[in-house]
Every structure is written in C-alpha cells, then in structure tokens.
C-alpha cells in the first residue's frame, strides 16, 4: 500500500466518521467543531489531488469564515440553554425513514457509478498545481462566472443586512 493510499484511507475514515458524528450528535457545538475538522480533512483530500490552492481556500473559507458564522448564529439563537445541550431534541421522528432513504440513495449511486469506466488520463494526476496557471484559466475563460460571483456575494450581503436589520 502506498503512502498516498494510506493517507486516503485515513482521511476518508476521519471525514466519514466526522460527518456521521455531525449528523448524529446531540451537542450542537460539538457538531460545529467536528464540522471544522471534517472540512479541514477535506482540504487535505484536495491536497492529495494536487490542488493545494483549493486546499488552502477550503481551510480559509470553511475553517475560518463558515465556522465563525455558524458559531455566531448559534450564539444568537440560544438553541441550547446549557453548553452541552443536554435535554434538547435535535432530531425529528423520521430517523428510520431518513436512514432508509439515504441508504437507498447510496445503493443507487454505487450501482450506477462504480461499474462506470471513466476516461482517466493514464498519466494523471500529474498536473503541477500552479496558482498562476489557475489564475490564467479563470481570468481567460471564466471571467463571466467570476463577475457573477461578485454579484452573488453582493446580493448575499445586502440580503443578510436587510434580514438582520428587521429588528430595529
């Protein structure tokens, strides 16, 4: 087993168990910080795919900004009166049905996807993850989505300000 494969297994284990923890724990704050861990490990997966810029961006945005927002939102909603969230019902009554739905979905996906033959480049992945190369591609070919992103972000900002200002 090569080192990369080992790393992949380890990362997958952490990611999947972290995700399972997020969807099953009763403690919301634990879920938030486990989310942080999971996202950081996904960043490591990106590293394994030779996309170090994306890995750093994943850490920057998910570990930094999104965690901050979720923590703030949690603190604003007082969704628990005690830090450990004891005595809170965080799940609904559809756990069994949800599990069946999810399992069915997984079965279908695996049934469809796994036998598929992908046109994998034999030499791949060898791309040198160069920020400059990526910048060149974005600013040459994807300039419209780039500008649209800025508008979306602006819309989100204005939306949040309008929503948050309702109190006054």
């Amino acid at each position: 087993m090569s080192g990369q494969l080992l790393a992949f297994w380890a990362l997958s284990f952490v990611i999947l168990s972290g995700a399972l923890y997020i969807v099953t724990t009763k403690n919301i704050m634990h879920a938030v910080f486990m989310h942080l861990l999971t996202m950081s490990m996904i960043a490591a997966i990106y590293g394994l795919l030779h996309a170090d810029f994306m890995a750093a961006m994943q850490v920057l945005i998910y570990a930094g900004a999104v965690t901050a927002m979720v923590v703030f939102a949690l603190m604003l909603t007082k969704s628990q009166s005690r830090p450990d969230g004891a005595g809170m019902a965080v799940d609904n009554q559809q756990r069994g049905a949800s599990f069946l739905t999810a399992a069915g979905f997984l079965a279908v996906v695996i049934y469809v996807l796994v036998p598929q033959k992908w046109a994998v480049k034999e030499t791949a992945p060898i791309v040198k993850s160069d920020v400059a190369a990526m910048g060149a591609i974005i600013f040459k070919s994807y300039i419209l989505p780039f500008e649209i992103i800025s508008v979306i972000l602006l819309a989100a900002l204005i939306g949040v300000i309008v929503l948050a200002r309702k109190e006054d």
Partner: protein, 121 residues
C-alpha cells in the same frame, strides 16, 4: 514521491510534531503537578462570587453581519491571489475585470457601512 506530495508530507509531519509536542508538555505537567480538586475549585470564576445562573448570552444580530462581510471578503482574497499572480499578462482587461469585482464588493461594504451594521457593540 513527487515534490508536491513531499510538501504535504512535511506539513503533516509538522502537524504531528506540534500535536505530540503539546501532548508531551501536558503529560509532563500531569506528572509534575498536584491534583487536589474540590468543589469550590471547579466552580466557574466570577470574581469570587458564586456565579449567577445562565452562562449563555444572546448577542445582537449585528455580529452575524460582521461574520458574513468577513466571509465575502475572504472569498475575494481567495480570488485576489491567483489574480495577483497573472494580472500583468492580461494587461488592462484584467485590471478592469478586477476593478469591477472589487467595486461590486466595495459597494456591499459601503452599503453595510451606510446602513450602520459595521458597528460593534
């Protein structure tokens, strides 16, 4: 192992060393330190008095707006770096593109400013 993977290997090694080092410090402390816990010691500190009930406070929604503005500018930084490495090659075009991008986000900042949500406390 190619160069990029070696980089990651180093980063992981540093992380492990950091973790182990921290753990080592705590372990040494665990051996050395006294451990005489009593109920009073385990109380939360509140200036020497018994704490009032409820250590949970609801902050104003303004703070949330801070987090969001931060998120948005964080995304902008993430785009600025690749742009900063290549923008000379495209000349004036990329300049204009970026100005539009920054301008639109700046509009958001100015909007937030004018609406008075950039006010902590």
């Amino acid at each position: 192992m190619n160069a990029a993977m070696t980089n990651y290997y180093y980063v992981v090694a540093f992380a492990i060393v950091g973790g182990v080092f921290g753990g080592l410090l705590l372990t040494v402390a665990r051996i050395m330190r006294p451990n005489k816990v009593n109920k009073t010691k385990l109380e939360a500190y509140e200036c020497g008095m018994e704490p009032f009930e409820g250590n949970w406070t609801q902050y104003s929604a303004r703070f949330y707006v801070f987090a969001l503005v931060f998120l948005i500018f964080d995304v902008e930084i993430a785009f600025l770096y690749p742009w900063g490495t290549v923008f000379r090659d495209f000349g004036v075009t990329s300049l204009i593109e970026m100005f539009v991008f920054i301008g639109v986000l700046l509009l958001g900042l100015v909007y937030a400013w004018k609406k008075g949500v950039l006010k902590w406390l």
